[in-house]
Symmetry: D2
Subunit: 401 residues, 4 copies
């Protein structure tokens, strides 16, 4: 592997997941924590010559006011989720990253997100085209300044509403619309993705926002030879659905209904309290059941913002199924996971693996990363075990002895 660091550019760098990524990179860099939670620290991934966690240089965009470490401290004070000593020891790392933060854009980001923005950012008027150019230039300046060999852009910003209108299938039909904020069909997340593609960076969409998902964006990514992956990190309730639903299918047990009720209280939850933003998330959490089972059970997914829970995403799932002789039975689970703690190592994994895939010559949507996502691009498999088998197979094929 070349002896230059890798650049990681985070959209939403001040958020909870991003701050946890930073705390983790700082702690891993100084050897202060074990590798728990990092898939890439398991065999065979350790034999892939991945970039060391200490060789990742971070910058990013954000629209929020406030200093970088604030969200990390909130992870302790409100959620008791990160040891305060770890946070204190990461302060120098935060200070360095803080200097690399550039203002994001609220163009086409929706009202819920706009209200979170720093006043000067919320007030900025620019065309989508100008926003893309500005974002691209920020990424390129970062790459130059830090002398990184490559940049991976990761979207960790709060979920935006689903795109309002249809996005033309050919990018050639989208491009001319970039000058008019009212006509442009691309939401903010896709403008960031566009800037990343144009800057020659890889791109990972860890959120359910549109990003590089539309066909127009995917073909553009292929034309530019961009490796990318998404969408929507599979960290908790949906991970469990993708693990458990195959069991019901394999045992020929008929799932009559599957209800999932999610409660949590972090910034993400606040944004999802807007029904438009929530719609994108619920859709992303729900579709896989019918895909795995082969028939559509009655499903219900709810997500509620409960302030006191902070980063603790608690999910109650109730599965009502029918067995032999028509007898109805019940399975319930309660997942009490810390959202950012579960997401952050997967972000680091994805950065390392997308970089490695690119070095191996992969371009376009990387389907064998499907196990990381609720709505994987480039692959239809939703069964977690099969997704993980595919990931391992790629790794074994590229691993050193």
């Amino acid at each position: 592997m070349p002896h230059q660091p890798l650049g990681l550019w985070i959209i939403g760098v001040k958020g909870g997941v991003a701050t946890t990524v930073l705390t983790g990179l700082a702690a891993l860099g100084r050897g202060a924590i074990p590798s728990t939670g990092l898939v890439t620290e398991l065999d065979p991934f350790t034999r892939l010559d991945l970039v060391p966690c200490g060789d990742i240089v971070v910058g990013g965009h954000d629209i929020r006011p406030g200093r970088l470490g604030e969200e990390a401290r909130r992870m302790w004070v409100e959620s008791r989720a990160i040891d305060p000593e770890l946070i204190a020891a990461s302060e120098p790392f935060f200070a360095v990253v803080e200097k690399r933060i550039r203002p994001g854009t609220v163009v086409a980001a929706g009202d819920a997100i706009r209200t979170l923005a720093e006043p000067t950012i919320a007030a900025a008027v620019e065309t989508p085209r100008a926003a893309v150019a500005r974002i691209r230039s920020d990424i390129e300046a970062f790459a130059r300044a830090e002398n990184v060999r490559h940049v991976v852009v990761v979207n960790l910003a709060s979920t935006e509403p689903p795109a309002a209108g249809a996005i033309p299938v050919a990018f050639g039909d989208v491009e001319p619309l970039l000058d008019d904020p009212d006509a442009c069909p691309l939401p903010a997340s896709s403008l960031y993705a566009l800037a990343a593609i144009e800057a020659g960076a890889s791109y990972v969409n860890f959120t359910p926002s549109t990003g590089a998902t539309p066909p127009a964006m995917q073909s553009l990514a292929e034309d530019h030879g961009t490796a990318h992956a998404g969408c929507d990190g599979k960290t908790g309730e949906t991970l469990l659905k993708s693990v458990l639903a195959p069991m019901f299918a394999a045992r020929h047990l008929e799932v009559m209904s599957w209800v999932g009720h999610n409660i949590f209280g972090n910034m993400d939850g606040k944004v999802l309290d807007d029904p438009r933003n929530k719609a994108a998330k619920v859709r992303s959490k729900d579709h896989l059941l019918a895909e795995i089972l082969g028939y559509p059970p009655q499903t219900h997914v709810s997500i509620e913002y409960i302030r006191s829970l902070g980063d603790w995403k608690t999910a109650w799932d109730h599965v009502h199924f029918r067995g032999f002789l028509g007898t109805p039975m019940t399975f319930q689970f309660v997942w009490q996971g810390c959202d950012s703690i579960l997401a952050a190592p997967l972000v680091i994994d994805l950065v390392r693996l997308v970089d490695r895939a690119r070095r191996a010559g992969e371009r376009g949507a990387i389907g064998w990363l499907g196990c990381f996502f609720k709505s994987p691009l480039g692959v239809t498999e939703q069964d977690f075990s099969k997704q993980f088998t595919a990931l391992e197979a790629w790794a074994r094929a590229h691993a050193e002895r």
Copy 2:
């Protein structure tokens, strides 16, 4: 496939699982129920030319007093687990099977089981060798009388205590001990298995009892060309462990402790209330976690007999795990499954698949049936998804287009 029926000989034919098997076979035979719960009615297994469920003729041994249909009615009255109309419609089927029931043996079955036995059976004195000869002769007489092309013997009897002493590795060293009840190291379940092997039948051990598990028995089975499978049907809590533990491993989440608390109230539960019988069951439910995770978390499995629950096996599992940055998190599930309803279709699946394997020339322990068992013979894999993939692979290789 030859045009003769297949014989199914059940050890413990009056029990809850057996009665549910009979109710199911009766209902399937007259087309009264859908195939829910039967793995073998899923593709690709439907293309394997398996014996039709209506072509299975049943007989068996039991030590208990009482008529065959009683346990089925108890499944309705005490557990509301089987529709009383289904039971009523199965009475003619029960009546036919009832005539084929022969008295089992309590030789080496342990105290808890002996107290359940009909007085004349409990009082019978015979050497292990005589018991084997009698059982074998019952099976052979059944095969002749019903003109079946082959017999599959399935052990569904209540769990016996773990074998007290060591069983010699070579069957030649076991054989001479069969004359002396006090010296014979084989428990009752192995005497039945021995009789099945000698009768040329296939053998399935759906319980954690010893059966054909000891090396001496396994090599004997190979010498006789017997196809067999076991042990201990994986129907509920352990099934979930084998589905969920791989997820924790794949995500590099450290399982610190896994507690499983099981409560139920059927006859099986009553037998397990004897600590010696329970020991065998707990061992069978517990070992797979360390095997899947690669390290031993603190585990605890308890099984309690709670009369009011009848056949409803309720399990609460509490998984305490550590993620990134050392943050502890929790996953809990509650499984409310009807034990016999979950087990019965798997028994039918195993009978059909073991028969098919034998027709395909397989002999000895059939490892690709591992997904059906808590402690599979002939294979070490404990990850349910990988076990099921192996089952599908065999089926695809032998399926018709």
Copy 3:
């Protein structure tokens, strides 16, 4: 007690709760079941000279098509909630009641309920005044025909939407509006209550619908000397809130949030699937927490219609609370109750107790029946234990030795 039977007139007599009441009265009348679930069969209530369950004669209104026993059979087939033998044995009882059923009214009942109505009932055009007169005349005809000494009218109909506009405080201002369906502020449930009051019957509102709750109706009831009670039977999740919240208060534990998620699949659930009808229910389930705790925690109540659950109302409640030194802790419960089975005996209890209260000279809203209701009239206490103590105190004061 006079030697005439008591009349019970049920609004919504074909529904699940009503059918369970009928099945229960039939079974109690022939001594086929123990008194489990009936509060009035506990001491000291057994010493109150209450009407025997076998001396209650039933009739009622409904708007739905279909025969009376259908919902009872659905309680078995869809929910396995009532033993089919009990239902079969109740058929003669159903047949007698069936002849006494009269068509209800859909005036001011809302769209969700109108779509359930039998076509001829849905199409009927009548003014509110005419509806009241017709209902009253039905009740009076029933009383005469069955020669009952008194009638208790109980509202068990599906929840209607909250009243749209304000209802004048004086009944004199309401009365003139009864001729104009568009101007009349009373919803259907209040028209039934009005008819009951005018007919000299007692009135129990077991639903969250408006009924006799408005001040105009309450003062009318007092003027007519009508004993009445309501609203909204406290059968499951809310009962638990009223039992558990006082514990948190007494231990000075700060409830930060209380989330309740309810799923079920009976007709009631279908009606609640209309957001307007659901609003009334959620309000009724939620307000008591702040009243008991003395401060408003963040609360969330959701109710979802999950068809497969039938009459099984499953509730998951998650309570997040803070203890000494500010440490956050969690309490969760899962209630798997059969809605009609829980409600029906309370309906019988209320009929017996309201009749007894009237015989003791009580008029207006009977506050000491508060333990039966989510939103009790005539009393502010919401702590279940204190409500029950009040009920016992009244009973002790009126009980025979």
Copy 4:
């Protein structure tokens, strides 16, 4: 109230509950925390002229090695249960108390506890009489040195096994046996209680150990005019039983079985891992159900030591009950409480209330403190709500306007 401080002498002063009491008293003394969790800070208790928390001077006995603050830091490091800043700020308070700690006794404490003891303490040989004299003298020296107006002795030591033999009913028959360790029927906890009584102190037994429970001890306490209270603080699962069981009784729902499964990992749990010590605890947690319900349901209580849980006592309770028409239903709860956090404020409450009761002239077992205990002395009521009503009634009768 006299202007001298109150002395609090803790048996087991280095344990988790004691350390949390100390952290709390330190924080309350400097106004650093709100009064959450303290019953005595609710009205009407605030009008009782109770000793201010800042006027309580602490000392105590312990047998363990290690410094006082260690267990507090473990509450943070292992359990994330106490904010590390609170602990750091309490260090000066700990240092003062540390100097007042005297070695406890292992005479008659059982093997599990003896293995925890500091070697010099474990090796000490003394007769029961000598131990009592030494303990009494320590308490009296503390009272003199700190110039306190009265001492309340609280037993917070780990649970000892149930007393092996019968304890004579008259103290006069016990007294002569104090010279012979082998003949003396009093366990260690009763020796401490005896010393407290002889020293003129009040006594609170917050554990299920024997303490002042035997009739011989109770009559001795009355003879000495000692106010005392116990046994076994009601902090979690049992508290909920005493809140929920009355609801089932009041609704005439038949509890068929009640299973409680408790897991936790603190020192207390380690001691309870010894089956002899566990027996005392299980007995204390189980008996109240039959007392409240009026009939004995099948019950099961298990307590397991799961190291990773630290101080987080997690309880799963499964209640299987029967309602109207014989329909079985289910209620389950999961309690995730921090044991020491729940217990500590109740200890402070008891110290304040016992002191106040004594000032009001109360002697012997104080029954109106029953709501604090699993096995209350001096009262038979087990319904929490009624117990709390009794507590409030006493307070109202003694409160200032």
